[in-house]
């Protein structure tokens, strides 16, 4: 469970203060698949970064799995990220110097797994995303969709409770986007909670819950399963 109470985030530069999030309150339930939408600059990425402990917030309370993470130090946050959270980025963020195998290996190394365990997991999740034949390839030798699937494998390999994705299909064509979405849904079926930021209303509709952000606050929440209608649009 992920729960935020009146979270605010202010970015200060020399001249300007940007209120990226204002008193944002929301809860993501265990096993949910949340799609976050909203206009550009509404605070989606900021929300995801805070949820994923990449950034700190200015005020409010954030409970992750029943634990208050507001005042954790940097290394405790790193550990939580490593154990509980998986990330998928819009621009994949594979490490160009490492091959596919080593890329998926990165979070496992920090987790401190033994080499046999790491190998087993890497092979398993590359298989899940259908890329087990490409382990020795470098990221630059793969297509965008394939790269994003490697990123998904990397996110899954740590078997996280939460999967956070910032426009995971933003750089993919619609067919590729569909296949990544299908993969995410399967993962969600297996029990991983997913929070996904997207601009694509069709994809958003396939999620279980939609959250719409506007000017740093939740403007609408719709639980698609409650409405029983996949076509209902929260906007």
């Amino acid at each position: 469970m992920l729960s935020m109470q009146q979270i605010a985030k202010v970015y200060r530069t020399d001249t300007v203060e940007t209120h990226a999030l204002r008193e944002l309150t929301l809860t993501v339930d265990e096993g949910d698949f949340v799609a976050v939408t909203g206009p550009s600059g509404s605070g989606k990425t900021t929300f995801l970064n805070i949820a994923g402990l990449l950034e700190t917030f200015s005020s409010g309370t954030y409970m992750l799995d029943g634990r208050d993470v507001s005042n954790l130090n940097d290394s405790a946050r790193s550990k939580l990220r490593n154990e509980k959270i998986g990330f998928i980025f819009q621009s994949f963020n594979l490490i160009p110097d490492l091959n596919i195998f080593d890329n998926v290996d990165v979070p496992l190394r920090y987790r401190g797994f033994k080499s046999a365990e790491r190998k087993a997991r890497i092979e398993k999740y590359l298989d899940v995303v259908g890329l087990s034949g490409r382990m020795k390839h470098l990221p630059s030798q793969l297509s965008g969709g394939q790269q994003q699937r490697v990123a998904i494998a990397r996110a899954l390999a740590g078997e996280p409770r939460f999967l956070l994705a910032d426009e995971p299909t933003g750089n993919l064509d619609s067919a590729m986007a569909r296949s990544v979405m299908g993969l995410l849904k399967e993962i969600n079926e297996e029990g991983t909670t997913i929070v996904m930021v997207t601009h694509d209303p069709t994809l958003a509709n396939e999620a279980k819950t939609n959250i719409h952000l506007k000017d740093g606050v939740v403007s609408e929440t719709a639980s698609i399963s409650q409405l029983g209608n996949g076509k209902q649009n929260a906007a």
Binding site: L54, S75, R81, I95, P96, D97, L98, V106, Y110
Partner: protein, 403 residues
């Protein structure tokens, strides 16, 4: 630690790593060989001449007037100098230790032209020689006033007594150097001389000679046209006595030139000036070189950090702690440095062999190599720790914020 992936990532980016490793290797080669030379020179400079250097000076008197009576003048000079207050003793001598110019002969234990002679520096002195030098007599006795004769420039005969340094005696009588006293040695192939005493240390005039500790004293005063006097003063009196003696001698006879006055300290300074300057230059080179290499590592590591900002952010997002990131760069640098020092050790040995071959430098002490390895590791560590700390401060949000 994750040696494997670091190594594999490095091989994707070989050039930078190779460049640093080569720099480390060359730096190490230069450093070790330079320190080796410095050490060797320092050892040479630390050898005692055997003299009371702080209180000695010397000058030369050259007569030119038609009526100049050399023998009479030398006796008069020595009497006058020895009588001066502040003067401990004085002697006429042919050469000065460390000065670079002198006279050498060969001595053998058997007579005959075929006997192997041992090279030795010759000092002509009278019975005041040992006291003027300030050397310690360790066996036998000093010359007596009656032993001391006069020598013309072209004389080829030798008196029948001599005093040797312990080093010379050891060279000639390796089994029992102290037994040299009373033994006969041969000069000029066949002329016998009896060793009547041994002195502890007295260096030859040539500090680069391998037999620099081998000297002999011969009891003669010289009529060579120019007379050199070595004068020992009370502590602290040298600097006032130098001009005083010079003036006194010049005034006592206008038919001569007093010249080449110099303190022994200055002679030592001149004698080892080349060595000292060499060591100083080597130190400067090693210092600058280490700085250049370290700055190079800082520069390259900074670039690496900049280039990898996004990947660092990603690693942080995936759960790497600041320490993990820092460690990544330190380990990477450690691996590169290690390649460098391995290559450096090989190059050091090769370069040293070249120096030994072509310039007859002694081979270097093997312990320098591990010591230099530690130094290079430390230099690498210090140089990379700044950029590594900067890397660890890359915020994880870079992963989602950079396009």
């Amino acid at each position: 630690m994750e040696f494997g992936p670091i190594l594999r990532a490095m091989t994707r980016n070989k050039t930078g790593a190779i460049l640093i490793a080569l720099q480390i290797a060359f730096t190490m080669t230069i450093m070790i060989n330079a320190i080796h030379i410095i050490e060797e020179r320092n050892d040479a400079m630390a050898r005692p001449s055997g003299l009371d250097e702080a209180n000695l000076f010397y000058l030369t008197s050259t007569g030119f007037a038609d009526d100049f009576n050399e023998q009479q003048q030398i006796e008069e000079d020595l009497r006058q100098i020895r009588a001066l207050s502040g003067v401990v003793n004085a002697v006429q001598i042919n050469a000065i230790p460390l000065s670079g110019g002198g006279w050498s002969m060969g001595l053998s234990t058997e007579p005959g032209a075929d006997a192997d002679g041992t090279g030795v520096a010759v000092y002509f002195v009278d019975e005041h020689g040992i006291d003027t030098f300030g050397v310690e007599q360790v066996a036998g006795e000093n010359f007596d006033i009656t032993d001391v004769g006069w020598r013309e420039r072209t004389d080829t005969e030798w008196p029948d007594k001599t005093i040797l340094t312990v080093a010379m005696a050891t060279e000639m009588f390796p089994d029992d150097p102290m037994s040299a006293v009373g033994k006969t040695v041969y000069i000029n192939d066949t002329e016998p001389m009896t060793v009547i005493g041994l002195i502890k240390t007295l260096q030859a005039p040539w500090n680069g000679w391998s037999g620099v500790e081998r000297s002999m004293l011969v009891p003669q005063k010289m009529l060579f046209g120019s007379a050199r006097y070595l004068i020992r003063t009370e502590p602290g009196a040298r600097d006032t006595l130098m001009p005083q003696v010079e003036e006194m001698l010049a005034a006592s006879n206008r038919g001569r030139i007093i010249r080449s006055m110099r303190s022994l300290e200055e002679t030592r300074e001149r004698s080892y000036r080349g060595d000292r300057s060499m060591t100083l230059m080597l130190k400067i080179v090693v210092g600058i070189l280490t700085a250049v290499t370290a700055l190079g590592i800082v520069g390259l590591a900074s670039f690496a950090v900049n280039r990898r900002t996004r990947q660092i952010g990603t690693r942080r997002a995936l759960g790497a702690s600041k320490g993990d990131i820092m460690r990544y760069f330190l380990v990477e640098n450690f691996m590169i440095t290690t390649m460098g020092v391995v290559l450096g050790a090989i190059m050091t040995v090769i370069f040293n062999i070249m120096l030994v071959d072509s310039l007859s430098l002694p081979p270097l002490n093997v312990w320098y190599i591990p010591a230099a390895v530690l130094v290079m590791w430390a230099v690498g560590f210090l140089a990379v720790s700044g950029p590594a700390r900067r890397a660890s401060n890359v915020p994880p949000a870079v992963a989602t914020r950079t396009a």
